[in-house]
């Protein structure tokens, strides 16, 4: 069978294609974006006409995937960890309804926050929703697990959570492919009330869900990813979850350091294997990428069992991603560093590309808002968030997708005038539109600047659902024509743009200014592909 050099993300995508996927749903977000991108560029996916379009946000993505599952086919949805917060309502309730065709929910965590506003461990969502959760340690395992995850999903009629982290998502390795499975046929659920969560039905379903969770621990298709390897040492045993297993194996030479090792890559985790290791050893070290989920479970509140080392006692730092050095130190092994970084080496934070329209928009905004004093520009998540850094220092918030609009509304309610929001086009259709409706309905005094570059730039230039629709959306929501302005953020329009902004700041009602100019990266890519066609 064929071997391919694949990123973890790509291995997941290829596996889904090979395991009979019929629909892929996603909203971009680092480090999950390449899953959808791989499927979109796959010839196989286009020959089979697999559904593979971006969704407006993670909630619409997961619900569409659930719809495909309802119709009996295999579906996958991918998002970054904070996307699962947005999709949580659909996700938790999909555990209640259960699935028909297999449904995999991939959540890509970003410990150390390389490209994120927080650090979350999605495994907690698996436990919260009471569904199986897989956590591959490497690319090959990720590939194989997808087949089992679909099968487990259909066997137990549950959505399956598939948790990866940045290092696996964005690291390439050779992956051996398996035989391709056929897609499922369209087939309605046997029980047409399966997806109707009326309280009377939901109560029964919840009881069934509660009792099934315990039995999942011992189902082979899940438990085969948890393995115990005994060793001669008796003083300490090691529990390593997901990718932490790699850092452990990097550090130990198993012929000398013969530790008993329990590798956990699927949840709910096995009580019997945990007992195997804790009965044999006087102490255990727990290595987890993310939060101390297994560690907390083992310690409990009393923490009066055997001695445990991990993130909670400081053996491993409480936050941030693992690396070989952290694990070496936890094992009491020496770490030999190379030379120190010379002090002349400066930080090189990301910055706007030369000629970016956001930069021109901010140059005008900084001037326009100056006379009112600092602290009144709420912003959001995207390339435009880079305006928080010098020399701009132009925004005062970046919280979660859409929060610029709603926070500006709340601050205006409190009397902060003018109250300005700056939001990107993709972020606007992700979660800004509903906030705008609130503003219109109560006629808040806010000025909302939609910095429209016709793409999701920050994540690499994916299609934006907003493109070509923003004006109509704003009008449809009820923004008045007189206060719906479009400007072109170019240096030559600087004075004119300042004038328009200032005018709208003085208006006591909802204004929307669309600052419209295509992202130069996307424009270059577009022109190149137009030229080659």
């Amino acid at each position: 069978m064929k071997k391919l050099l694949l990123l973890g993300d790509e291995a997941i995508a290829q596996a889904a294609l090979d395991a009979g996927l019929s629909g892929m749903y996603a909203y971009p977000g680092t480090p999950s974006t390449e899953i959808m991108e791989y499927i979109q560029s796959s010839k196989d996916a286009s020959d089979r006409n697999i559904h593979r379009g971006w969704s407006a946000n993670e909630k619409t993505a997961i619900e569409a995937a659930l719809g495909m599952s309802y119709a009996g086919k295999r579906a996958m949805v991918a998002m970054k960890h904070v996307g699962l917060n947005v999709a949580a309502d659909g996700f938790i309730n999909s555990a209640m309804t259960g699935v028909n065709g297999g449904l995999i929910v991939v959540s890509a965590d970003d410990p150390s926050m390389h490209s994120s506003q927080n650090e979350q461990d999605s495994r907690f969502y698996g436990k919260f929703a009471l569904v199986p959760c897989f956590e591959p340690s490497n690319q090959q395992e990720a590939y194989e697990m997808i087949f089992d995850a679909f099968e487990a999903s259909e066997k137990y009629k549950l959505p399956v959570l598939f948790r990866i982290t940045t290092r696996l998502a964005h690291s390439r390795a050779s992956v051996q492919l398996k035989e391709v499975l056929p897609e499922k046929k369209l087939q309605l659920p046997a029980d047409l009330f399966q997806f109707v969560l009326l309280p009377s039905i939901a109560r029964k379903k919840y009881n069934a869900l509660l009792s099934s969770y315990e039995s999942l621990r011992y189902e082979n298709i899940i438990s085969k990813y948890n393995s115990f390897k005994d060793g001669r040492k008796r003083d300490i045993g090691i529990i390593a979850c997901g990718i932490a297993y790699n850092y452990l194996m990097e550090n130990i030479d198993s012929s000398i350091d013969d530790f008993p090792v329990l590798k956990i890559s699927a949840y709910p985790f096995p009580k019997d294997l945990i007992k195997d290791i804790t009965d044999r050893c006087n102490e255990v070290l727990i290595l987890e990428e993310g939060a101390p989920l297994v560690e907390e479970a083992l310690r409990g509140i009393l923490d009066n069992g055997i001695k445990i080392y991990g993130r909670l006692d400081g053996t491993v730092p409480r936050d941030g991603e693992l690396n070989p050095a952290i694990v070496a130190k936890a094992l009491g092994l020496p770490v030999i560093y190379g030379e120190e970084v010379p002090s002349l080496v400066k930080m090189r934070p990301p910055s706007f590309c030369k000629g970016c329209g956001h930069a021109d928009m901010f140059n005008s905004l900084i001037e326009a808002v100056k006379s009112y004093g600092p602290g009144r520009v709420f912003s959001d998540i995207g390339c435009y968030t880079l305006a928080a850094l010098p020399p701009y220092n132009a925004i005062n918030s970046c919280v979660d997708m859409g929060a610029s609009v709603t926070m500006a509304v709340g601050a205006a309610d409190a009397g902060l005038l003018p109250s300005v929001a700056v939001i990107g086009d993709s972020t606007f259709t992700h979660s800004g539109m509903t906030g705008l409706l609130d503003a219109v309905v109560k006629n808040s005094s806010v000025t909302i600047i939609i910095s429209d570059n016709s793409t999701a730039g920050m994540t690499g230039g994916q299609q934006s659902q907003a493109t070509g629709r923003i004006e109509q959306i704003c009008e449809g929501i009820g923004v008045s024509r007189e206060h719906l302005k479009t400007i072109i953020p170019l240096r030559k329009n600087h004075e004119e743009n300042i004038r328009i902004m200032k005018e709208e700041f003085e208006y006591r009602g909802v204004s929307v200014i669309i600052a419209s100019r295509e992202c130069i990266q996307t424009a270059t890519k577009r022109k190149r592909s137009e030229a080659s066609n």
Binding site: R172, G338, V341, L344
Partner: protein, 191 residues
């Protein structure tokens, strides 16, 4: 055989093409490989690095442990210094001398070069000029790879074949330009 290589530069400078070339060669040589990349926020003009690990035995960690890299390949001089804690005592540092200045406090280039020269095994080349002379101004990254190639335990021919495979889709002219760039870099390594 085991090679741990750190690639460094600034987002958009093409370190992923270097990684892809070495990766393809490693696969053709039946080696185990892990190659961790940076995607996302830092690609907007921030510092980027890639960890490349080749071995004839399975590779576990996607990240190279401190002090274990036998080679740093950098397309930007200041960035080459950022990863010194990973470089082993006998490791080589191969870097471009042309600075990429997109921050206001970029240090004077001669001080950077002085720091690089303190590293026992180093090669500093003006990859951009060499690339231009080789007739392929945009292949500075491949010139650097050529200069670093003696320290990678794979034959030069296998790197050439990887270039053919990687750039093949872009046409014969691009392939030839990159092969020339690779050779021009190799010739500066003094090997």
């Amino acid at each position: 055989m085991k090679n741990d290589i750190i690639l460094s530069g600034v987002g958009g400078q093409g370190i992923l093409s270097i990684a892809a070339t070495i990766g393809l060669a490693a696969v053709a040589n039946n080696l185990f490989l892990k190659q961790s990349e940076v995607h996302g926020m830092s690609q907007r003009g921030g510092d980027v690095q890639s960890h490349l690990r080749l071995s004839d035995k399975p590779v576990y960690s996607d990240l190279i442990p401190y002090g274990r890299a036998n080679l740093i390949i950098s397309v930007e001089p200041m960035e080459s210094l950022r990863y010194l804690p990973w470089l082993s005592k006998n490791g080589w540092l191969v870097t471009n001398s042309t600075p990429f200045i997109n921050i206001p406090d970029y240090p004077p280039i001669d001080e950077i070069i002085k720091e690089i020269k303190k590293i026992k095994n180093h090669i500093i080349i003006d990859a951009d000029t060499i690339a231009k002379e080789a007739g392929s101004a945009r292949s500075g990254n491949i010139v650097i790879l050529g200069a670093a190639s003696p320290f990678i335990d794979m034959s030069f021919v296998s790197l050439e074949n990887a270039i053919r495979k990687l750039f093949g889709r872009k046409g014969e002219a691009i392939v030839e330009a990159n092969l020339k760039a690779l050779k021009a870099g190799r010739d500066c390594s003094g090997e």
